[in-house]
Amino acid sequence: MTSTSPLLPAPLLKVDDLHVSYGRVEAVQGVSLSVGAGQIVSVIGANGAGKSTLMGAIIGALPSRGRVEYAGRPLAHTPLESRVAAGMTLVPERRELFSSMTVEDNLRLGAYTRRREGAGDLGGVFTRFPRLEERRKQLAGTLSGGEQQMLAIGRALMARPKLLLLDEPSLGLAPLIVREILRIVAELRDTGVTVLLVEQNARAALAISDFGYVLEGGQVRLSGPAADLAHDPAVVASYLGAAK
């Protein structure tokens, strides 16, 4: 599938013919996608479709072949930490929090790349996630699953990212908390953060997205404006369950 750019805004992230292999198994097979500045773009697909692998390759945690361009610059020789410093952050599926450190320390470390500019936006994160402020002296490992997800997103926001990569933020969380988290993600777009969202919960993801890609067996099967995908018969049948 070729990705002609139907997007109006200039792409902040452009992925071209990306391949990622684990030994002989190719988990991502020539994926191309583009994320316009200020948009929420989601990648939906079943378990094992290669979604998390795709995210790992985009942030630079996994070796890959192909082209990843961020803000018009190729990233082939840019290590993960420099990508973070350049304004990309990933909230991984496993969250990767500092479990034996406090909520506040986790957040402050989120602003590590901005340490010369001062404390980072702790207040802004607490406004968005009041629960984290109540728990600021608690160890991250003692938080509930939903709170840990909020902390993972909050820590990523401390770096004031231009592009936020969110890998399965709804995984293992109660529906009420999922709705809360996705509402916050939608709000982030209004503050100018571009979001690439990977989700199994396709209905919830498409509801807040501008554009969507369907990943199957490591390849893009379908793409289009989120509203169209949500009504595409093939998507409805495979990912949205029985239409209500």
């Binding site: 945690a61 020789h77 290590p79 993960l80 973070v84 990767e96 500092f98 479990s99 402050r108 990523a156």
Partner: protein, 349 residues
Amino acid sequence: MNIFDPAIFPILTADGLTNGAVYALLSLALVLVFAVTRVIFVPQGEFVMFGTLTLASLQLGRVPGTLTLLLVLLAISTVLNVVEALRRGDGRSAGISGVSGVALGAGLWALTTTLAAAKAPLLVQVLLTLLLVVPLGPLLYRVVFQPLRNASVLVLLIASVALHLVLVGLGLVFFGPEGSRTPAFAEGNTVLGGVTLSNQSLLVIMVSALLMVGLYYFFDRTLTGKALRATAVNRMGARLVGIRPTAAGSLAFTVAALIGALSGLLIGPSIAVSYDTGFLIGLKGFVGAIIGGLVSYPVAALGALLVGLIESYASFSLSQWKEVIVFTLILPVLLWRSLSSKHHDEEDE
């Protein structure tokens, strides 16, 4: 005479605390290096040996062999950095690495040869010793351990043992087989609650305590210290907030070398240090670190103090069994740990 005799017990205790304080510092360095880089740093004691013997060389007006080692490591790491930058196609950083490496080497050489010949005052010699020994930490990390950073704990341990053997050999070449003492930093005695303590012992305990407070402040209050802890807790998480594991590893090795060199300066006046002394001292710190399970700083430090005390009491009543008793300590601890802790896979990433 019984060790609990009131005439002897306080003296043995003070002696044990003095050595224990140094072991405690070394155990902290071992825990730090292991937590951040997964390297069981066998050559930690060699920094102690280089610390004492570098100062002893300077006292004799000689240029210490440490300078040669430092310059060779600096040359290798500069070449590595330049090659790496060129591979990335980053000619500018390659140039900067090359020029700064050469300038740094030339500066250190000029400074050391001038000051060694001039027989500078003790304090200047101490600072010069730190300047020569502390950079060995990050340079050894760059040359030996950074290229192995994705290797297993076992491979890192093998490299660590090899490095220990190399450094002991170099110690023999640089400083000869004789032991040396360095002059005491403080003369005289102080009477505290009926116990006479040498001022040198008091200085050792005070400097160790200060250093521990400093380390606590560094890890608990500064963002850089927290970044080191974060790397130890979750390497991937640390990378995701932009902390480079190699920078964290380099910093951990710098702190370890600083602790080692300072320990060498602290014990230099009380024991004769020779090229092979470092290993035994480091091993006692290691027993403390093992008591702390290579993860807990306070337990490691307390364990190391205990090692110092037991060693001191044993050296009085059972002196020929002293090392045996100290190292036997590790057995019940290991037994208890293996029974009480749940099993972890070696690499859980």
